[in-house]
């Protein structure tokens, strides 16, 4: 099952003489159980690609489907995002005044889930990735690796099966980075789809498929199964 599909997606920032094409016709699919890594230098369009795949932005042309829904037909993108997509960023934006568990509960509470149920769901996902013991700690009482795990838990809580990660291993040492990749990999093997943007080859190598982005285009892929390599 395809959880996100980009077809001939282009995105131009700005207009007229100052228009800057960020993506030039990218096609990419990520299925359930699949970990796909996107590699490219800064300015290659990685972040634009991730924002489009997560419904944080709309394409100038081409189509984006999330969980079978065409974004062009979705009015309330924010609601779709909360229901279907989890994000893990390098500056992970855990809220400092909330405990780990409260941070994980937050997206569910915004969805209107009662706080008791939200807490149960948060504990379930924290347990799944072996950090239930951190539930009552505040972000500044956690190590970098622990904070990243909590951010992953927050990205996965509820029904969400599409996880987008932008340099999720950014500030971590290589051993902790490997542990984070282990968690992402396990989530994939349990049926989630993960799209990971990174400039670090060692983390990209955890993916089933690595695509290389250059100047807004996919120039190569480690797998033949790509719908369109250009």
């Amino acid at each position: 099952m395809t959880l996100v599909r980009l077809a001939e997606v282009a995105r131009v920032h700005g207009e007229g003489a100052t228009a800057v094409p960020a993506l030039k016709g990218v096609s990419l699919e990520v299925g359930a159980g699949e970990l796909v890594a996107v590699m490219g230098p800064s300015g290659s369009g990685k972040s634009t690609l991730l924002n489009l795949a997560g419904g944080l932005d709309r394409p100038t042309s081409g189509t984006v489907h999330i969980g079978g829904q065409d974004l062009a037909t979705v009015r309330d993108l924010a609601a779709l995002r909360r229901r279907s997509v989890g994000y893990v960023f390098q500056d992970l934006n855990l809220i400092a005044s909330l405990t780990a568990a409260e941070n994980v509960m937050l997206p569910r509470e915004l969805d209107g889930v009662r706080s008791r149920l939200a807490r149960e769901e948060a504990m379930a996902v924290l347990t799944e990735i072996d950090v239930a013991y951190l539930a009552d700690r505040f972000p500044d009482e956690l190590s970098g690796g622990q904070r990243q795990r909590v951010a992953i838990a927050r990205a996965l809580v509820g029904e969400r099966r599409l996880l987008l990660a932008d340099e999720a291993t950014g500030a971590l040492d290589t051993r902790t980075g490997d542990e984070i990749m282990q968690v992402l990999r396990a989530r994939c093997d349990a049926g989630a789809a993960v799209l990971l943007v990174t400039h670090e080859p060692r983390y990209a190598a955890w993916a089933d498929r690595v695509v290389f982005l250059r100047d807004g285009m996919i120039t190569d892929s480690t797998s033949e199964s790509l719908v369109s390599a250009r």
């Binding site: 590699m39 230098p41 282990q182 990999r185 670090e200 080859p201 060692r202 990209a204 190598a205 955890w206 993916a207 690595v210 290389f212 120039t219 190569d220 892929s221 480690t222």
Partner: protein, 169 residues
């Protein structure tokens, strides 16, 4: 590095015969360096000649058990305390190939880089899968990590080449 130092390390943990040495050698290098039993016995014979090991009695299956000598332990100490020199490593074909591609004007260097980068990434994916499959044995994991870091360095260097050549154009 030589097989002899590897075998000396294993013998420093107690007397062993050839088949045991082969099995333990492969286990600690993550099966990245397969040995045949002939190599093991040839190496043992040379080390015996050099006074680094001593053959003992044969066991009930006729296998000779070897023991490390004081000279063998001294050699091992010397080996561990001596850093490996860069120039002892063979030249890298990829580096030469790319330098030659830049020198030969008709070659599409960008394409050479792209092809190599994808191949190196596939190798890196394989190594990572192998690492995930290692459930015990820190030595094995570290050997794979070393290969991963090396492949990663190659990948970074290729990106660097691409960026530099883009500027040059």
């Amino acid at each position: 590095m030589s097989i002899r130092h590897g075998l000396l390390v294993l013998l420093s943990r107690g007397p062993r015969h050839g088949y045991q040495l082969r099995g333990e050698f492969e286990a600690s290098t993550g099966a990245t360096w397969p040995l045949n039993i002939g190599q093991v016995y040839t190496t043992l014979a040379r080390m015996e000649r050099d006074g680094l090991v001593e053959p003992g009695e044969s066991d009930e299956q006729g296998r000779v058990v070897y023991t490390i000598t004081a000279a063998g332990r001294a050699e091992l100490g010397r080996w561990f305390s001596t850093p490996v020199v860069q120039s002892d490593r063979p030249r890298d074909e990829l580096v030469i190939k790319l330098a030659m591609a830049v020198t030969a004007k008709e070659v599409d260097v960008a394409e050479v880089i792209r092809t190599q980068r994808t191949a190196t990434m596939r190798a890196l994916q394989q190594l990572t899968r192998a690492k995930r499959a290692v459930t015990e044995g820190v030595a094995q994991r570290l050997v794979l990590d070393s290969m991963i870091f090396r492949a990663e360095a190659e990948q970074r260097w290729l990106d660097h080449c691409e960026a530099v050549l883009k500027e040059e154009r």
